[in-house]
């Protein structure tokens, strides 16, 4: 374990509005394409996890990234969403993909 930070500090709390960064890197990416650039609300703070995007390359994935369950309104995510305006989707997103909204 390297000296210094093993986990990044949690920046967000339940209820916070967050935006998924509109980034398109190559590699093993765990933020689904459909959610990038969209704004939702943190539902749950799931605790720090080693970054799977780094684990995929057999690196340590440290510092661990806080993971969040973020809820989005379907009508915000999809043009012409055909269901009920109350419908939602929830995705787990690692902190390095999130910005305050």
């Amino acid at each position: 374990m390297i000296a210094g930070v093993a986990s990044a500090a949690a920046l967000f709390a339940p209820g916070d509005r967050v935006a998924v960064r509109n980034a398109w890197p190559p590699g093993h990416v765990r933020a689904p394409a459909y959610i990038r650039g969209h704004v939702g609300a943190v539902v749950r703070v799931c605790g720090p996890h080693p970054n799977p995007e780094e684990l995929a390359y057999r690196r340590s994935g440290l510092p661990a990234q806080p993971l969040y369950r973020v809820r989005f309104r379907q009508i915000d995510v999809w043009p012409h969403y055909a269901g009920d305006p109350a419908d939602t989707l929830e995705v787990e997103i690692y902190q390095h993909w999130l910005e305050p909204a």
Binding site: A31, Y34, W78, A82, A86, D87, T88, L89, V91, Y94
Partner: protein, 213 residues
């Protein structure tokens, strides 16, 4: 010896690998046998290890999830435990829930939950066994997140008015299971009888629990 049957007491590494009726062994079937034999030769695991894992996964079919849900329907304390710490609830029933945290989403008159993994096909395998092929299909993975009501309709699920459909995309290390609503007309039912109503599809969220006959 018939190669079409699973004679597990014979130590034949190729058992069960048969040519398809309409063609030769595929490249990937050959690869599976070859990789397994190499790894056995290198001492990574034994044939018995492989057999044991195959049998363990077969034993994990949908019996576990329904039992956990039936108990939750019968006892508020069990329900609370299922919703807050499903891994512990599984352990109490003697099930190994696996290394990942299992989160149970409760269906209510206000919210119907549906599970998908758009990026791959993550599924609570340790509780429910191997996922159905349709869950892993591109069609389900593409559409369940975007048009859940259409997918639910394809599965014959009829949702009451005013319910919010909430789709969970399991993109990280948590695994999801739905706690379906208990059907009416089941007062006084035993855990075993209730478990029969809890289909695997209802635990994924594409259907409600079955109705009493």
């Amino acid at each position: 010896m018939s190669h079409g049957h699973e004679h597990r007491h014979h130590d034949h590494p190729h058992e069960g690998v048969i040519a398809a009726p309409d063609g030769p062994l595929t490249h990937y079937q050959v690869m599976e046998v070859a990789l397994r034999e190499l790894l056995i030769e290198k001492g990574v695991f034994t044939p018995e290890d492989v057999r044991r894992e195959v049998e363990a996964m077969e034993g994990r079919d949908a019996g576990r999830g329904p039992r956990m849900v039936a108990r939750a329907w019968l006892d508020p304390a069990d329900k609370q435990r299922l919703l807050t710490n499903a891994n512990e609830a599984a352990a109490e029933l003697g099930f190994e829930a696996g290394p990942f945290r299992i989160l149970v989403m409760e269906n209510t008159p206000a919210v119907h939950n549906l599970i998908v993994c758009t990026l791959c096909s993550c599924y609570p395998r340790m509780l429910l066994g191997l996922p159905p092929a349709w869950y892993k299909s591109l069609s389900y993975r593409s559409r369940a997140i975007r048009e859940p009501r259409a997918v639910l309709a394809e599965f014959g699920a009829v949702l009451p008015d005013g319910v919010e459909v909430r789709v969970h995309d399991s993109t990280a290390d948590m695994r999801y299971m739905v706690l379906p609503m208990r059907p009416a007309g089941t007062d006084g039912w035993s855990e075993e009888a209730l478990a029969e109503l809890i289909t695997r599809d209802s635990l994924i969220g594409v259907a409600p629990a079955a109705e009493p006959a």
